[in-house]
Amino acid sequence: MPKRKLDPLPSAAFQILLSLAGEDLHGYGIMRQVAEQTDGRMRLGPGTLYSSIQTLLEAKLIEEVDRREDEKLGHERRRYYRLTSAGRKLARSEAERLADLLRVARAKKILRGDYV
């Protein structure tokens, strides 16, 4: 079932996977990272964020790492999340799928320019 839930990959889940590609983050960190990488277009609310995290955890695409403090945010201990190798693979295949789409769009002259 979790597999079906993530197929097709919801954009929130994909953004979370991408946000964890660089470093391990806690929930708020993921939220900020996603907002940053989408130019503020996607601000994940707590419900969506943690429900996506839960789904990704169940599918073993991300994993929890030790709780620790984030010095910038005070002394509360926070759960950090890390991308697993399966998660990285899924994110890559999703990105490749999108790149394929992009190629098609360009071939059909819907999208112009050289980027990606």
Partner: protein, 514 residues
Amino acid sequence: MSEKIYARLLRLYPSRFREAYGDEALQLFRDRYGDETGFLPRLRLWLDLLGDLALSVPREYLRVEPELISSPVRLSTKDGPCLLVLGSQPPGASALLFGGVLSLTTLLMFSVLLNRGVRPVPLSALFRPVQGATDAGSSAINPPAPQATSYKGREGTIASASRQEPERAAEPSARANTIATDSQTNAPSLPDSAQPSQRQERRSQGGTNLLRGETKLDAAERRRVIDAAAAILKKYYIDRNNAQEMADALLAYEKSGDDDAVTDGTAFAALLTRQMRDVSPDRHLTLDYSRDPLPRRPGGQAPGDLARYREAMKQQNCTFEKVEILPHNIGYLKLNSFPDVSICQSAAAAAMSRLNDADAIIFDLRDNGGGEPAMVSLMAAYLFDHPEYWYNPRENISEQSWTQSPVPGSKLADKPVYLLTSARTYSGAEQFSYDLKMLKRAILVGETTGGGAHSGVWHRIDDHFGMGIPETRAINPFSKTDWAEIGVEPDVKVEAANALATAEKLAEEKLRRK
């Protein structure tokens, strides 16, 4: 303060989610609340949170517990059955109390609903069509509706055989608001729901008053219906002068306040029908009220419907329920509808060829709610040795107005024919009875028929009101009136239950005298 509000809102999530991520969610809220200061960012924060709540709360409740997914594997262990507990804690006192109150409320609601507002449906309706009361035989001379009920009857759940509106008929509760499309004029005919409400009305006056939740009409609604009715009359009614007069009459009654006292939909429809018929006594002109919303678009066949109809017809032998030879070589055919010729022609031919050597024929139409005019005419063709004018109130004269007689090989043209009728004999079956009676080709035994001619073309006014307006002028060679609303009188009046025995006796006598 804000944090408290959000903590309260978090309680909307299922406990499973709260236990796992409640603290984190609250923490995230605190972080954002601390970072995003000022009026606009705060406003945006709250909008984000509310939007998020609206989306993710339902999703969390719909989430399938992983334990459930893996359970089939675990349940099939050798150690015998095992139970799976999804909650980690036993239900608390408040949950038990809430559950108890909820159950009691539901129970109370059932008893209240059963006592008022809901029309009781007898259990037998689930197994056999309730003749007359539901859409059995209320359709125009079109096939689907009567059959639709009979499938409902026999198979229980049935996704209808009604070819026009599968979704509606698929709900067992929804009365099939079939709008049938006339094969020849391509005009939609009266939906079934309109007629039953009228018929029900008649029944309830007869003493079996059923409590029904009628919507109250107000002046604005009345005004709207009258305006629409006047417009439709002027646009479609066959006699322009009469149309103008009727429209004027409706508006005049409304203006003088004659309609003001009526708040009941059925009564209002009956009143307007009466007002129109006072101007021009035309029994094919009706204004009907349907408690169930009328379908928005008439006609329109989905491809699956035809297949379903075909399948159902196949299963029921095209509603040719019984074909047998009774003592004294009397052929007996129980036919419960006049199904689509394109699907059932061979079934009809098979039935008629079995009867071909009989000395007399009894057609049992006591449970026949009508059907396709083409099939009515096809069945009649066997009974004549020359093309006979076949009156159909819904159609102008055309080539199809004559039977395709003689049918090659048929020996039935000169055999005595008896028709068994009941109050449930309706629509197309009444056409069969009326024409054969008028042509003196058959003797009708039983009860006066239901009285559904439906030669009108249906016009929808709104969700509950519609009009049947005759747009054709078929020539009735037999008399000024047909069977609309009055039914066909039998030649020999007996109770429907005794009709077969009586007809058998008559046929025997007739054959003996020969």
